[in-house]
Symmetry: D2
Subunit: 350 residues, 4 copies
Amino acid sequence: MTKGTNQIKIAIIGASGYTGAELVRLLACHPNADIRALTADRNAGKPLSEVFPHLGGLDLPELIKLDAVDWADIDVVFCCLPHGTTQEFIASLPDSLKIIDLSADFRLSNIKTYAEWYGHDHLAPDLQKDAVYGITELARDAIKKARLVANPGCYPTSALLPLVPLIDAKQIDTGNIIIDAKSGVTGAGRSAKEGTLYAEVTEGIHAYGVAGHRHAPEIEQGLSAAAGSDIIVNFTPHLMPMNRGILSTIYVSLANGASASDLHATLEKKYAKEPFVRILPEGSVPHTRHVRGSNHCLIGVVADRLKGRAVIVSVIDNLVKGASGQAVQNMNLVCGLDETTGLQQEPLFP
Amino acid sequence: MTKGTNQIKIAIIGASGYTGAELVRLLACHPNADIRALTADRNAGKPLSEVFPHLGGLDLPELIKLDAVDWADIDVVFCCLPHGTTQEFIASLPDSLKIIDLSADFRLSNIKTYAEWYGHDHLAPDLQKDAVYGITELARDAIKKARLVANPGCYPTSALLPLVPLIDAKQIDTGNIIIDAKSGVTGAGRSAKEGTLYAEVTEGIHAYGVAGHRHAPEIEQGLSAAAGSDIIVNFTPHLMPMNRGILSTIYVSLANGASASDLHATLEKKYAKEPFVRILPEGSVPHTRHVRGSNHCLIGVVADRLKGRAVIVSVIDNLVKGASGQAVQNMNLVCGLDETTGLQQEPLFP
Amino acid sequence: MTKGTNQIKIAIIGASGYTGAELVRLLACHPNADIRALTADRNAGKPLSEVFPHLGGLDLPELIKLDAVDWADIDVVFCCLPHGTTQEFIASLPDSLKIIDLSADFRLSNIKTYAEWYGHDHLAPDLQKDAVYGITELARDAIKKARLVANPGCYPTSALLPLVPLIDAKQIDTGNIIIDAKSGVTGAGRSAKEGTLYAEVTEGIHAYGVAGHRHAPEIEQGLSAAAGSDIIVNFTPHLMPMNRGILSTIYVSLANGASASDLHATLEKKYAKEPFVRILPEGSVPHTRHVRGSNHCLIGVVADRLKGRAVIVSVIDNLVKGASGQAVQNMNLVCGLDETTGLQQEPLFP
Amino acid sequence: MTKGTNQIKIAIIGASGYTGAELVRLLACHPNADIRALTADRNAGKPLSEVFPHLGGLDLPELIKLDAVDWADIDVVFCCLPHGTTQEFIASLPDSLKIIDLSADFRLSNIKTYAEWYGHDHLAPDLQKDAVYGITELARDAIKKARLVANPGCYPTSALLPLVPLIDAKQIDTGNIIIDAKSGVTGAGRSAKEGTLYAEVTEGIHAYGVAGHRHAPEIEQGLSAAAGSDIIVNFTPHLMPMNRGILSTIYVSLANGASASDLHATLEKKYAKEPFVRILPEGSVPHTRHVRGSNHCLIGVVADRLKGRAVIVSVIDNLVKGASGQAVQNMNLVCGLDETTGLQQEPLFP
């Protein structure tokens, strides 16, 4: 990769997980990215290619422990640590650093809601006020000025991109939103658990966390902000045999005389100039395969047989637009680069 | 397999498809089943094991053309022909035969609805009146007396088993039922189409037939009969990478002061003595993997976060309880046998 | 399941793994099997259906700790403990018990070879002498009289069934046998490891344990016994995305003027009357899908383009003929039952 | 994508198949590629995004019929037509065009061998003499000067890259080479066939074309040229459930006193400076997942337990290095560009 002259010095904290590896994959083709530090406490001392052999041909720094990073040499930190471990760490970083946090630790602006859903008090409440919740297309201006971007969850990204404009337009009933989501397995991370073993996942599907998944309050936060009132949703995630991808089938009641075509028109207008969000012709629905490996979100709208209702289907790659791709998109904004830099790879199909 | 003395002489019409092969698999372990004729027009003259090598060790008649069947030697006909080709054929059969039809040709009792959804007039309207729609647990007495059983579709089986008792109990709002279904690929049959190629299906998911799938009127017929009034539903099927299985996630509004626990109690009571339907503890949800290869239907009920709503999840194997297994279950009833005969294989997991 | 009068009282030790669950699945349809004890130390106190929900409709004893088994109430023990933990345990059992051991602990008759490959001394060398290595078709008479059957590994079963008769017939060169094997994931068990996560296995393949897999000495023991001299083989296993199945592609040099047709004839003659081994027509090769869920082994023979060589392909379901099915087959022999009892389920395809 | 000033005007003939779509995916990120014509006879008049929705965001010409191409506007033709249809077509093209042919029609330099394996006489024997068989790393200088590049088959690429240098070095016995290959499904193309339906492929594996696959003579041609004498090999391909990827496990006898380490050293030296071929440390073996979506070939060498033998494992993505990626690599050479242009995307894992 020929690199440009405007180099951003980058640290990836927690590089031995799937989102860390995906950042490296994307940044390897980013002309302004200079990866200077990769941390992974248990694997410190190894090359990344020992943990992820598919990244074997790159010229990368060795994995080091978190406390071995020379922060003076870093401009932007991508933080891929597990939920609950990130607040104190980020609070300890020098002010000069820009931070994209891929954990859930700064996503909920209400620290009481955080405590309720994550089971412990927020450990950096002051810093929380500075965090910008970063669905790029919905918060572009704020992200440009942010020091700390709370990179959104995968499910919330797939739900908020279609729903927020419709709530803004007052075209759907806010008391009756049902989000039936189907996710690939990488959303569960790389740590070994019985439930994500091949033999437990292949050739089947099941719902999980029904009425209790931590992405529900994150979705509700975004919708409530758009509506200006508290919204509760049904959010029912399912785990299915695919590595990458989220498909959210969203069932809505129409409001204020709107039709499915009106919803479609609202979304088309909202996203007409967006490089990564594409609205399909009315009546068409997207496949997760159509976005695999890319930063795209595809959205379809179909009129329901039930009068006064519509079905909306959105798809993303959970590791790209749902995590590391959106993180790079946000980094581009934070650093004043063109938003699409390094993100122009087309989807990999089949 | 040791066979009993009370042998039923069986013909399987259309034995070269997946439902035909599944009938052979199940009947091979059925102590009263004597397979006397297997038809497959294009493959006539071959042994079935050439078309389905997994059925290679059995002592079966050769595949023959449809017009070569000696009906005098047959007691029960399983009809696995494509939709639209079955009405005239069945009308031509001797009265002495009992018939289990696995196509959609006799499922809709209203022949106008049939014509509307299948694009041509019903070709055996008189015979339609005699057909019994055969979800075994919901129509047991009628099936026992039937000559012609219209074996239900896979999606309708998974939806009607949980919903009919709840409508009978007037515990759910009939105007607002949403059925988000996820199906394995065998539901599309064995004929070669681009859309069911491995590379087009693996590692992804998509909705199809949104607001237009032919199983919608079949579901609505069953629900409307229970309610005593016309019901329209949202039915949104999805195709996903698994061979066998349907999971229906059903979103309902509670009625008449019922709670999710009340729904659960209704289903538990209804199915307490059923050998093939099992209600999970409240709050638990089933995996399709838990029924693979078996005639079971598992159902879970969970209270929604949205007040006054509940989520119901049901799973079946589309080729067994959703097709050939229920067909054998119905044959057992029609022939006066114990309903579980030949159907006691446990699920295959992993 | 209607049970017969001759009931065998069975204990399954280590019932929370895949081979334990598979034993339960098979024995649930076995007319002479009475499961009296199921052990699983970490899960003691739970019903098996909590660990394996697909086994939810059965009338089974609760999981207990190993030391809570009442051996006086048991006739046959299936031992599904991890390798290395079984020798002392089995040595401690009452003499009255018959034992089928599914671990590797008693498979290698030479305790020096055992120590070399398993990294510790054999802990029950005296008992080793009594163990019969149990590929049913190759050791039927010895198994009938055995107290302790060492149930064979999955790879060795797939390799020895075709190779032993050919070595007996002196039709292949014993210095030049190459076994390229492809296995499903359940062979690695249910314990959570990064390497068997869905995302690490799906949509790919890799070789592992090249020139160092512990099933190599087990294969060599069986071949050497047949040849009357020490044989070393190439054995290269691969892990691929399927739950069940092993396909072994075996490359052999012909000896003593034999042709591929001669090899085929030898195998056809050897297995002509076997209920579970089927030789395909010469030039045909089997799929793993054709044996899924069944106790069958299918074998094909093809002449190579390289003069004087042949290719043999064999398939089994690693959890059935490669583990629990062969274990039941051996129990039937040990207990004087018909060898096929409880094992007549046809393969599940698709 | 920012495009450079040196634009190559490109036509893709047969753009509605997988290799055509893969060319578009790669060329969309190629700074010097200007796609001017896309042909697909049956789909003429549609946008490519209707046939391949994952390529929906690109600015591409509409699909047209073959005879509608304005050849005066084209510099380079990628030909993705089925085997047997390409010879006459390419013979009819203007001399000014450079051609990369992805079919098999010009791969066998001996037209008798072609006729024998493809069942008809070669239809452009004069043109055959000009065709350069294009494994880039093995024929770089000839490709630079070529007008017509016969782009190699996927299996031959995976076999010849490791084997040719070893034959050049006289380190392996040429009479005894066994290539056990495992392929993903896209190698069979997008046309609908029963054998590549999802339900027929998932969760299983089988060998096919044993001793009769058309890639055997292509492999033998490359090896024979290196050896200077006729070589016959065993080549046994297997079809397995993955979209992309070929893994070839190659069994060789060592010659002239060479050890496995010597083989490893030869390959390391040969490929030390290659951007797309990487030799793993001795004893390590690659996964197909490590090259998915990339133009890489990874190769491992392991000493066999059989004395005097070694095992070599190579992996490629069959659609990239095995087809469209190598085609772009060859186009780069033919056009005087840096060979890696447009091919620097990292593998997609998971």
